[in-house]
Subunit: 409 residues, 2 copies
């Protein structure tokens, strides 16, 4: 077919840098929180490029945007894409690579005069990051029918504004019915956001699974006491309970092993004084696994530990679920296509799970789906120092090109 076709690295990087200028932060990176003025400017830039490339642009009531490239035959397109919203201190690659990589594939095909049998589509989904409106991956979740549109539009953000109001105000609310266009298959190119590819010296990750996520909040209430005059046996130390829980989460993750990770990233105690036993402690627990049974096991063990701890320490504990997504397994045939395409292009490739959530995991509910990962320097993401080298980006988009051609013929 078109085995020698390659994308244009410089053009790809140039678009990433141009989009990164919108909402650029002083020290590097950028801030384009979903449905802000900066997001609008980013949308206008990308939609402008879509028009330049001859794509038929539509958007739905969630502000999801689709650029369609007709094929020689009708039917649902092979879709690629990701998101262009960022966290508050985001990099220029997270999400953007998947969208602009898709545009680069389209331009490469345009230049070569290739028209695929099935239509192609480059999409970006609203509010993937969830940094302003919870939950994350909201646009793709609504697109696949996993959340009613009305619920999404009524979601209040951290600044009090609602999704629907913001969509209206910035003019991003489209008239295409939600769920359109239908999709034949979905492929998302994304930076890894972790250290595994770099550590392994491997260029391409063929993502097999997305970890299930369990976010919990625990609040312990004990009794504030003098650290000198209160014997250990008479203490009801909320701070100790929080720290013991954090220590347990590490032991639990190590013991379960495999893909299991466990993190206490947020912890606050009160009154937070050197010589006072804490009466209040608040912490979050982030548990993830690609295997839902093991993830449930981790949740169950944590709950049992916390219950016994609270009873032993004579304190109260309140539990709240902040987020819970089951793991997602991608279509094995799709994963094999990514792997084969990378090999055919001479790139090293490994199968791996995704530790972060992505739009692809929502699309997997409605069509065969795969993800392509490229390395993240030092595993850093959601950080202005996020970086992937031009040749690594190029390798990823060439794999995307090949997989899309493969699927569209």
């Amino acid at each position: 077919m078109h085995d020698s076709l390659r994308i244009n690295r410089q053009r790809l990087v140039s678009r990433l840098e141009q989009l990164g200028q919108i909402g650029a932060l002083p020290g590097g990176g950028c801030c384009r929180l979903a449905l802000t003025e900066e997001d609008l400017l980013g949308r206008e830039q990308v939609i402008g490029w879509m028009h330049e490339l001859g794509l038929e642009v539509s958007s739905d009531a969630m502000g999801n945007v689709f650029g369609l490239r007709p094929g020689t035959e009708p039917g649902p397109p092979v879709m690629t894409g990701s998101h262009i919203d960022t966290v508050r201190t985001g990099g220029i690659y997270d999400g953007n690579l998947g969208v602009l990589g898709g545009l680069e594939v389209v331009e490469t095909l345009n230049e070569a005069g290739i028209v695929t049998q099935r239509p192609l589509c480059v999409a970006f989904f609203t509010n993937e990051e969830g940094a302003r409106f919870a939950p994350d991956m909201m646009g793709s979740l609504v697109y696949v029918g996993g959340m009613p549109l009305e619920d999404a539009l009524a979601t209040e953000g951290i600044d009090g504004e609602r999704v629907g109001e913001c969509l209206e105000r910035i003019g991003a609310r489209g008239d295409a019915p939600v769920g359109n266009p239908e999709v034949h298959a979905f492929v998302e190119l994304h930076i890894e956001q972790g250290p595994i590819l770099e550590e392994s010296g491997i260029a391409i990750g063929a993502v097999e699974k997305v970890q299930g996520i369990s976010w919990q909040e625990l609040r312990f209430t004990g009794t504030s006491n003098h650290a000198g005059t209160t014997p250990m046996r008479l203490r009801h130390d909320a701070g100790y309970a929080a720290m013991a829980t954090g220590t347990f989460v590490r032991e639990l993750a190590n013991r379960i092993g495999g893909d299991q990770v466990g993190t206490v990233g947020a912890l606050e105690i009160q009154p937070n004084l050197v010589n006072v036993v804490a009466n209040q402690a608040h912490l979050t627990v982030d548990l993830r696994n690609t295997d839902n049974e093991r993830l449930k096991q981790a949740e169950t063990e944590l709950a049992a530990f916390v219950e016994q701890l609270a009873e032993r320490e004579g304190i109260e504990v309140k539990h709240r679920t902040l987020a819970r997504f089951d793991p997602v397994t991608f279509d094995p045939d799709m994963v094999a296509r990514v792997e084969a395409s990378a090999k055919a292009l001479g790139h090293s490739v490994m199968r791996m799970p995704s530790g972060a959530g992505h739009d692809a995991q929502m699309l997997a509910r409605v069509c065969p789906t795969a993800m392509i990962f490229v390395p993240s320097a030092d595993g850093i993401s959601h950080n202005i120092n996020e970086y992937t080298a031009p040749e690594e980006l190029e390798a990823g988009v060439n794999v995307l090109l090949r997989v899309l051609l493969d699927l569209a013929e």
Copy 2:
């Protein structure tokens, strides 16, 4: 002698309540941080009462105040007293009871027309709490020669003002040479600030020892990472290190047992987000024991644990000593006098250590010293809910009266 002599409970409580009105907080309790305007007003009130009771009032360059009641013979007085400064959210008993209990003893003797052989002295020492200027027990430390006056005067407070400037401004700097008057013996009445007397149903504590105190600050520096994409084995989690240290401190205190206590009361991690491995953590460790060898053992074990932990986790740790006081053992004869006096008055009494620091531990460097404890409701202190019932206060001051008479005859 004067076995039937008793103090006046109502007069005692009335003085405690009057002094508690100075710097009174809206919800109860009071705030008279050392060398503030509120402290000055408190000093003026107490010095006024000293004059009313016929005491010869002197103050030294540290602002320590002494009210002398001459005896039938000259020589160093038997001294009692404590402090009248409070923490920011203090109660009306901590410190104040020891000073106003001393005045109540004097008034009781005055009414009965009793003149003791040795002089008596009621003192209050500057900045016992250390809530504005470190270290705590500063006035009594200077009085006994444990800290050069110049160093104390140059000490900068949390608000940037120096001790010397404050003493000048509020006019509390006296002209008596530091260390005067000399002291024959010292007895301090104080609330327990812990739950042991109340839990044991005992009226009087005969304090044998004051716990040694070791305050340390630990700062861990690791690497911030994505909580989903970073495998456990590649983490350098400063938050985990802090929590594991807090968990270890509890195990350590339990294992050493006896009087050993260990507390992590302050802990902060950064960036403090649910899905980010912490790169910074800061915590304090408060270790106390009446046995200095065991306290040193606890410090050594903690240091070894932290070193191994930091190495295993691949993070940096910085250590700083915030405070270190050796334990103090009171004169056995003095402790026996407290015990005997309590028994003679028909009160239940137990020997016990003090978990908090007190001026008496400084005085113990220069004279036979003892402390009398009365119960604290729910063990609460440094809190506006601090409370000791009038009859419990009365019992303590009657014991103080008896011990002082015993020492002064």
